[in-house]
């Protein structure tokens, strides 16, 4: 957490309503996301109890496992969920594919990708484990399952793994997506409660965020968003109903009534969260989309396309654990994605960039001098190298020679020529009228703060001639930010091929072949 986010939390606490920490939306929200709210039976290893799922806020589908400890019923649940999820994914697979832009991998990518939204990070954990417990199953032989079940397992595993990639939006947790954009007046621990977080962001009329969040903690009025259920609900409502559904000494009609009571009870636990997730979707959609978001969604589409091809070509399910080389490669990938994601968000959003201005990795202020026609004559050929001066009151930690970029002029590099302290009350310069004085403009009456002058030499983005294209060089008085952050290409780490895994890492791992043991593994 940064000081700016902490300040926003403090403001939210005082004002009784969440405060924005972004000026743009940094997560992609699909036109037709699949919202999935899973519930699991307490104590068991990811035993599905119920789910509310669908792409239309007005017509959710309810899936219920009447005997959550029964293996056949678990697989029946998986099969019904598979029907819905695979139909959703399939819709994007059959859509026309388009050729990727220049510079990206060869081949075509699907025009769009499916998105799944769950209420919270624990929901992502449920998807990961459901994927793990179903992806190795077989549709033939002993313990055969519905053929859709292992396919569901592979897709769910794909979505769960992809969600670890910074900036990926194929699988989103609503609480995380909201917390990225708003600071509540409570602690990050409490933000994990979707109802409480939404209470701060969008409280009902007549209530403060504080009051709404407090009300949201009552498990009766506002059931937990899963997968864990409220223990009191378990003990007082769920347990008797499950027992009633399992009775063999009653008529079919009585059992049917018990089943329908169980469905009503679970629907009652899920419906409030269903509404909240769609409320979150609506709030996120209302934010203006950040500039570089489309690039990241394109990467998601690429990942989706590749995995769809992998499955089409009969590729094996994801292994239980990564091999040494695959793990190292993945880690390197995640690190690069993390750095690039952080840079992209900062370049897209002045309020995110402000974090870096506070720590000296970026600065902002008005241009006070500009020499748009300056030529560098030191080399064989003369080059256009305009020099500008930016005055800032941000603390600066850049050295002469550093290459900077301005978010509003991404194609242009600014090299630091010099950094110097500017006397606070410097009189109006005699050099000319294009000198801009900070004491009478943006800084208002507070010109006594320490100011720094940064001289920058510009290159790129000004056309090929020795005179800059109009508008390509900042003019005096313009407010600009510069930062050391960069979203440019970073080198991939070098890793040996799988067959050349060194002995220090266990040597080449055996080729993964799904085993019978995997396929018939107990799920009890």
């Amino acid at each position: 957490m940064s000081t700016l986010v902490a300040l926003a939390r403090a403001l939210a606490a005082e004002r009784g309503i969440a405060q924005p920490v972004c000026t743009a939306r940094h997560v992609h929200v699909s036109d037709r996301p699949l919202v999935l709210i899973p519930l699991a039976l307490a104590g068991e290893a990811n035993a599905p109890l119920a789910a509310m799922v669908g792409t239309d806020p007005r017509s959710p589908r309810l899936l219920v496992v009447h005997q959550p400890r029964n293996r056949d019923q678990r697989f029946a649940f998986a099969a019904r969920l598979a029907e819905i999820v695979l139909a959703h994914v399939g819709g994007y697979r059959s859509a026309a594919a388009v050729t990727r832009g220049a510079g990206s991998q060869p081949g075509a990518r699907h025009v769009d990708a499916p998105q799944i939204i769950v209420p919270n990070p624990a929901g992502i954990g449920f998807i990961r484990l459901l994927g793990r417990s179903t992806r190795f199953r077989r549709s033939t032989g002993e313990h055969a399952v519905d053929p859709a079940v292992p396919v569901l397992g592979r897709w769910l595993t794909f979505f769960a793994e992809r969600s670890e990639h910074p900036g990926s939006c194929l699988l989103l947790a609503a609480t995380q997506a909201l917390a990225l954009h708003w600071a509540s007046g409570q602690s990050p621990v409490e933000d994990l409660n979707l109802a409480a977080l939404l209470g701060w962001i969008d409280p009902p009329p007549g209530m403060t965020g504080y009051e709404a969040a407090l009300a949201a903690e009552d498990p009766v009025a506002s059931p937990p968003a899963g997968p864990a259920t409220d223990p009191t609900f378990d003990n007082e409502i769920l347990a008797p109903l499950i027992a009633a559904c399992g009775r063999s000494d009653v008529t079919d009609a009585v059992r049917e009534r018990s089943r329908s009571s169980l469905e009503t009870a679970l629907s009652g636990q899920l419906a409030p969260t269903w509404t909240l997730v769609w409320q979150a979707v609506k709030l996120l959609r209302a934010l203006p989309s950040a500039g570089r978001l489309a690039t990241r969604w394109d990467a998601d589409k690429d990942a989706f396309t590749s995995y769809a091809e992998h499955l089409r070509d009969g590729g094996p399910p994801q292994p239980r654990r990564d091999s040494a080389v695959a793990a190292a490669r993945r880690l390197n990938w995640l690190e690069r994605a993390q750095a690039s994601y952080a840079a992209q968000r900062a370049l897209d959003d002045p309020l995110v960039l402000a974090d870096y201005r506070l720590t000296g990795e970026a600065f902002g202020g008005p241009v006070t001098t500009a020499e748009p026609d300056r030529l560098d004559t030191s080399g064989k050929r003369r080059k256009l190298r305009p020099v500008i001066t930016v005055v800032t009151e941000d603390p600066i930690r850049v050295e002469p020679g550093a290459a900077l970029v301005s978010p509003t002029r991404p194609g242009q590099t600014a090299r630091v020529v010099s950094v110097s302290a500017r006397p606070p009350d410097m009189p109006r310069s005699a050099t000319g009228s294009d000198e801009w004085s900070p004491s009478n403009a943006a800084f208002g009456a507070e010109a006594s703060r320490p100011l720094t002058e940064v001289a920058l030499e510009l290159s790129g983005g000004m056309g090929r001639a020795l005179t800059a294209v109009p508008g390509s060089v900042p003019v005096v008085g313009e407010q600009l930010c510069y930062t050391t952050l960069t979203d440019s290409y970073q080198l991939h780490g070098q890793f040996p091929a799988r067959e050349e895994t060194p002995w220090t890492h266990g040597g080449p791992p055996p080729e993964y072949v799904p085993t019978d043991a995997d396929a018939v593994e107990a799920w009890s």
Binding site: T3, L7, A10, A45, W523
Partner: protein, 375 residues
């Protein structure tokens, strides 16, 4: 000591005392600066009841499904004289265990009184520690005792002590799954710190009998279901780090006696229950008595202390209530209001706040600039 006991009894009032267990001792060390919790736990106060009488009931219930699974798994591992457990100890830990006997210390001839059980545990462990025989012995549910805040507390036992070749191992059975060799990090962390509490208590007991610290292994055996099945699997976990943390925190815990001495003599948290269990003490009086003892609220308390909602309400307006990270980023300024007035410049702050104030002002300026003054 009797004087202290009397004071603590008075603080608890006419309510049945609650025992410490490894979980409460572990929780104690996660927030050692909280005098309120230290006093309440030492006095055996029923915090759940007290919180609800004060109007701040917190849900710390456990689902019967979770309890059921936990019990069923434990029973399965212990069935047939711990047959499954022995198989695991042999296979996973490569222990060559020739022959094993099994002692259940859950009760002593029908007597479940703590003192009697503790004496019996002590006697049996002493005999085992002194004997030179090679055979292993499993002690189920030994009742242990630990010094907390300068006062002995009994630990509700939820473990097996396993002795092999003059060395004791703590075996902890938990019902969360280990999937492909990985388990929920938080649950493992909780299990490890609880095991460390047992290791410490077991060492305490043996030290009394003249045995050194190495008579109890600093590796504990964690038994959990494997993957999605009910089949148990075992892992040997190193708890040395947790032991160090625990010892340091327990040493830091102020002596309960000195804490109690600072409190008014008439102080009591007794809600004055009638025969139907209904409280008859005015809520405002109860609240003001609880507030006499200082708490140190942090959002982590929400997961571990029954008084959390009471203390959270009391801590409203402090930066600590927003989480330690937020508090640190706000320059450790105590109150939200003060941090915000330092940020908007209406407050200059003390000298030692100068640096925090400058940072906050810079943050506020940037925020307002980015939101066009609307921040």
């Amino acid at each position: 000591m009797n004087d202290l006991e009397a004071r603590l009894d008075r603080i608890r009032g006419n309510v049945a005392p609650r025992n410490h267990n490894a979980r409460t001792v572990a929780a104690l060390t996660s927030n050692p600066g909280c005098a309120r919790r230290a006093i309440m736990d030492a006095a055996g106060v029923d915090k759940q009841l007290l919180a609800s009488c004060a109007g701040f009931a917190a849900q710390f219930g456990q689902s019967q499904f979770a309890i059921g699974r936990g019990n069923a798994f434990e029973a399965q591992v212990k069935a047939g004289g711990c047959a499954e457990l022995l198989r695991l100890l042999r296979e996973h830990l490569q222990l060559s265990i020739p022959e094993v006997s099994y002692d259940n210390l859950d009760e002593v001839g029908g007597n479940t009184c703590r003192e009697v059980r503790y004496a019996r545990t002590r006697a049996l462990l002493a005999r085992a520690a002194r004997s030179d025989q090679d055979a292993g012995t499993l002690f189920d549910h030994p009742l242990l005792r630990l010094q907390v805040g300068g006062r002995p507390v009994y630990l509700e036992p939820d473990l097996i002590a396993f002795q092999l070749r003059n060395r004791f191992y703590v075996v902890e059975i938990k019902s969360f799954s280990v999937i492909d060799g990985l388990a929920d990090g938080e649950k493992v962390a909780a299990a490890v710190i609880q095991s460390a509490v047992y290791v410490l208590a077991l060492r305490d007991l043996l030290a009394d009998l003249g045995f050194g610290a190495d008579s109890v292994a600093d590796n504990v055996v964690l038994v959990c279901p494997e993957n999605f099945s009910n089949q148990p699997t075992a892992a040997l976990l190193d708890v040395r780090k947790q032991l160090t943390v625990l010892q340091r925190q327990l040493a830091r815990l102020e002596r309960i006696g000195s804490l109690v001495d600072l409190l008014p003599p008439a102080l009591t948290f007794d809600p004055r229950l009638d025969e139907y269990g209904l409280p008859h003490r005015p809520v405002s009086e109860l609240i003001s008595d609880v507030r006499t003892v200082q708490a140190r609220y942090a959002p982590q308390c929400l997961a571990s202390c029954e008084m959390c909602f009471f203390c959270r309400d009391e801590a409203r307006g402090t930066t600590a209530a927003l989480g330690r990270e937020v508090r640190d980023e706000l320059g450790a300024v105590e109150l939200v209001q003060v941090a915000l007035r330092l940020a908007d410049g209406t407050l200059t702050g003390a000298d030692d706040q100068a640096e925090a104030a400058a940072m906050l002002r810079a943050a506020a300026r940037l925020r307002s600039e980015c939101l066009d003054g609307a921040a």
